[in-house]
Symmetry: C2
């Protein structure tokens, strides 16, 4: 890892790892003042081309790189924003975080991010760590329901925007998809295609989007004058086992559901697997909330309620930087529309009843 000049028997003079040259070192080597180095490094005017060259030489010779920690300490702004999401590996959040990053980049800011793993304590821990780093702002996909711990930080000037789910017990900017409307559309679509017994398998009821989607389901059913049996609704964790059990129970009941509405992409994928294992003679209709790759290539294609997660991220980040640029006013709540994409599975009719 260390290289020695060819023909040199002894090691090159020991260079302590972790000790980096500072502006002072560069100044000494170039024979100029500290401030002149600072000017060159930051491209400030007022330096002779000749001195600038000498400083540049010293910089490359020494391998100098400005220490941004010191700079941040002095300037107060970090040019970085924090992103806290639920799970980096969830495909729904990929486009979202990428969009946030693009906006941050356009504003010359770095992205620091972490996953809460849907754990409120971990979310708080992460958020406060980011605050200690003095990020200029935060984009949060909340896992918890009580964000009062953020009040002092926000009062101190940390701009904060919540995405996908609103903040709990605190007033803050939020950018959401229309979970209620999208779900109502989905269920109404199934009803329009003749279904009367429709099941809903959703995420944990504590999660805002899950509750909204359930509300949309109930709204569509009641608007159509249809009853909802307890056995048709299942809320819980989205692990395959739970979803599989729930779906099977609804499909094997005495009066089975003829259509299913899946509350998010993970649920949908598991339901697709369950349906694929059942006799194709009596196909079950399915609509899933969230689009996913290859949904169109399955047979039948999976009808979904699509929300644009990149748009969600972009909108949130835009709002954040507007706040950072001094935009005042009350906390805003932006709700983005969803879109029903019919692909076949949501248009299957119920089995003919004699």
């Amino acid at each position: 890892m260390t290289d020695t000049a060819p023909g040199t028997a002894s090691r090159t003079p020991t260079r302590r790892y972790g000790t980096r040259p500072t502006m002072k070192d560069v100044a000494a080597r170039a024979g100029v003042g500290l401030k002149t180095v600072s000017r060159v490094v930051n491209g400030e005017p007022g330096v002779t081309p000749d001195t600038e060259r000498r400083v540049q030489e010293a910089i490359t010779a020494l391998g100098f790189r400005r220490n941004d920690s010191a700079r941040i300490l002095r300037k107060g702004r970090t040019a970085s924003i924090g992103l806290v999401l639920e799970d980096l590996a969830d495909p729904f959040y990929g486009p979202l975080s990428r969009a946030v990053e693009e906006v941050a980049r356009a504003h010359g800011a770095l992205l620091i991010n972490g996953s809460s793993a849907e754990d409120p304590e971990r979310e708080q821990e992460l958020v406060l760590a980011l605050c200690a780093r003095r990020v200029d702002g935060l984009v949060i996909i909340p896992a918890g329901h009580d964000h009062r711990y953020l009040a002092p930080e926000m009062a101190a000037g940390v701009a904060t925007v919540f995405v996908d789910r609103p903040a709990g017990r605190i007033d803050a900017d939020a950018v959401l998809a229309d979970s209620f409307g999208g779900s109502r559309d989905a269920v109404a679509h199934l009803i329009a295609h003749g279904h009367r017994r429709i099941g809903f398998i959703g995420d944990l009821p504590g999660i805002h989007t899950a509750a909204e989607r359930l509300r949309g389901y109930h709204a569509a059913m009641s608007e159509a004058g249809l009853p909802v049996h307890d056995a048709w609704v299942s809320l819980g964790p989205t692990d395959p086992e739970r979803v599989r059990t729930a779906a099977t129970a609804m499909l094997d009941a005495a009066e089975p559901v003829t259509a299913l509405f899946a509350g998010n992409n993970r649920v949908t994928v598991t339901v697709v697997r369950v349906l694929a294992e059942r006799p194709p003679a009596a196909p079950v209709a399915l609509i899933g909330f969230d689009d996913f790759e290859l949904a169109d290539l399955l047979s039948p294609g999976i009808t979904v309620i699509a929300q644009d997660s990149a748009q969600l991220g972009r909108t949130a980040a835009d709002l954040l930087f507007r706040r950072l640029d001094g935009a005042g006013g009350d906390p805003r709540r932006l709700v983005l529309p969803t879109r029903l994409i019919p692909r076949g599975s949501g248009e299957l009719p119920p089995p003919a009843t004699p």
Copy 2:
């Protein structure tokens, strides 16, 4: 957003946003010395329960949060690592970055990440920005081919591990999947099932993995004594249009290929679409490098060469932290095995020739 004490007509004394209380402020309010506050904040011993309580009260009353920029400046270590990848939205990198994050978290470090968008300049810009922040270490999925710009940083003690692709023109740790072996296996599998004319559609030839996969393709063909026609190989960007054109050309040629090997997940998905649009009478065999969700639910299921991207990330991060803990020695290159998962598409025979 601002609240006023009830019964107070005038605004509370203007609190400048962005000005946060410091340890000095806390010390003054608690009537103790600065160092005592530091002790309490950092949980160091040597503080009376009573003074500790007074300090804690002052901390919450003032909304104090330690400024980690100052701390970092003083301590020299940032407890953060940087991750530079190609595209946060690519499903292949989700599990990888999540694994890196988990390891970082286990070591009490934060993750700062950015996407290079497969642009070498942007990669360098990002890496150097992270170095300026004095990250303790870097995990890099390189976009460029010349990483000599990193030499001064590495000499200064920034631990660096490359993942998925090796570093260019510099000696550094790398954790790779066995692209060559996996590809050879894939093509040998197709040959074993009777294919003789096999097409390869891969990524840009400058990308290390793409070159290795091409090499594996050639190795398998030549080991079987089969010729390779130029028209059977297409390397280029992975956008759908390019892949679609390449696949169509190979399939519609006078002597069409009877099987395709797709060089990565994006290519595979497009090829699947192309094949789905063609007459099902003469099915074309397909193996894809990289597994992807729902590959088993398509009909036929898609046979793939799977690499464990989470394992790749975990291994890289583990190595990084071992380096940070002082592990010396020459740069290492770790190669993780791949696994062929037969699902149907790779086992289709060539059309019967009379």
